[in-house]
């Protein structure tokens, strides 16, 4: 594990993992509502990739994705130590990276050094019981800044994503 992510006890919390299991999120299925939300996120911030991620104990999986290709899309997720979203599970707050090549938490992450990720903004998906499941996020291949309006747009979409996730049958 590199310094790309410091895996915290919060990521491995049995109560958090039980919440993920109860919602059936370790086996993501096609969901038109979540898909529309990641489309809105990517389009709204003019970035190529939008995701709803679920951070498991050793990997993240994509509950909805727009713009992924190659092995990442085929794998349906990544090891957790490469997950930018895992930082929000730890902090319970938004995680924003404007230039990944110089950000201390991700600059050595293979998604940056080998896969070309340069910017990221993610909002935690928090259940009514307070468990952080993952993030609604956007990813880009060029560095950029994120305004408060950008983050507010993502916060609104994340809120709608959680409403959807908690309202459907597992």
């Amino acid at each position: 594990v590199t310094d790309s992510v410091s895996i915290s006890e919060r990521v491995h919390s049995p109560s958090r993992l039980a919440a993920i299991a109860a919602l059936g999120l370790n086996h993501p299925r096609l969901d038109d509502v979540l898909q529309e939300l990641v489309n809105e996120a990517a389009d709204g911030l003019n970035l190529p990739i939008g995701l709803v991620t679920v951070v498991l104990d050793g990997a993240q999986v994509f509950a909805a994705q727009r713009g992924l290709a190659g092995w990442v899309a085929e794998a349906g997720g990544t090891p957790v130590e490469w997950s930018f979203c895992a930082h929000s599970v730890d902090s319970r707050e938004a995680f924003v990276v404007e230039d990944a090549t110089v950000h201390p938490l991700v600059r050595h992450n293979p998604m940056v050094t080998l896969e070309g990720v340069r910017c990221y903004a993610g909002i935690p998906l928090i259940t009514r019981d307070g468990e952080v499941l993952g993030n609604l996020c956007v990813v880009g291949t060029e560095s950029r800044t994120f305004s408060e309006d950008d983050l507010n747009l993502l916060r609104g979409l994340a809120r709608r994503a959680m409403e959807r996730i908690e309202s459907r049958q597992p």
């Binding site: 049995p14 086996h27 104990d57």
Partner: protein
């Protein structure tokens, strides 16, 4: 012994890794019994000292179909193994079973 994918530093999860993940999630005693059952149901030798990526995938897929935290841990193992397999294939197939 399966080495890490160059540049990515990702090695496939081993039997010991899986047991450690399970023990952290459900406790050591239950982890051991779940592992034995997973191996038997997957047709994988229970007392093998270690398992390569293909038998590990069989066991992990069985785990991923279980309910609760065990299923989440199984899904994690599947993603890690799938990532390893895809990255290895992209690099010419070294280290495959």
């Amino acid at each position: 012994m399966h080495t890490a994918v160059p540049g990515y530093g990702l090695a496939p999860p081993s039997k010991d890794d899986a047991l450690a993940f399970l023990a952290r999630g459900v406790g050591a005693d239950e982890a051991a019994s779940v592992w034995v059952r997973a191996c038997r149901e997957s047709g994988v030798p229970v007392d093998a000292r270690d398992l390569g990526p293909e038998p590990m995938m069989k066991v992990s897929e069985w785990l991923s179909r279980q309910t609760g935290v065990v299923g989440v841990i199984g899904s994690s193992l599947v993603v890690r193994l799938r990532t390893y397999r895809l990255l290895t294939a992209n690099r010419g197939g070294a280290n495959r079973d």
